[in-house]
Symmetry: C2
């Protein structure tokens, strides 16, 4: 049974940023107790802590635009995804480049969730 | 036994780009038969095919500079790494931004190798 990892990645990323841009507290449902987020070097563990971090980010509105994600299957049946894009916050006219790596895994019910999440602004 | 995943990530990335910039055919030793590379959307499977792709890139000299990699442990005892940086090829004065995600795994002898490798230039 071959998993359509590229299709799942595209669908996931579209859903993720659409949720992020509309009501980011709902991102909690995409993480689990053992999920990890590294956001600009700051680390969070677990869905509640991750959602709290994302909700606390100091902007009111945000809009992500992203290029087609690139995906590969991982040894444990998961999917690794690399995304690059730009985001605009509040009334800022200058978009910020960003890059984000995810590993998705399936829970016992077969639902995909984010196990690994590393986010960086593209400032060298 | 806690793995020092951040230390291993930093050590790996330093070794990887140093090898890339000196003699990139030697990168073959960092991959295995089941390793995957997605390079600007083009996919390669296996150490030989990956090394061939990297050696065939159309530049003579290259120099990578990179920010501190961000790493997390993965479910199968591996390490996921996100790196952003800049590279300069040949006599080009303008560096190119890039982003790269790795997943490292351990082989039966305990040696770390690249299972997943996704490389993108930071052009949105």
């Amino acid at each position: 049974m071959a998993t359509d990892f590229q299709g799942i990645a595209t669908q996931f990323v579209t859903h993720y940023y659409s949720t992020f841009d509309t009501d980011r507290k709902n991102l909690a449902g995409l993480y689990r107790e053992n999920s990890m987020l590294t956001f600009e070097g700051t680390q969070q563990l677990g869905a509640a802590s991750i959602a709290e971090k994302l909700v606390s980010l100091p902007f009111r509105t945000v809009k992500h635009e992203f290029a087609e994600p690139h995906a590969q299957p991982t040894p444990n049946g998961g999917i690794i995804i690399l995304v690059t894009g730009q985001l605009k916050v509040d009334e800022e006219t200058q978009p910020l480049g960003y890059t984000q790596a995810f590993q998705l895994c399936q829970d016992p019910a077969g639902q995909w969730f984010v196990y690994n999440d590393i986010f960086k602004l593209s400032i060298f």
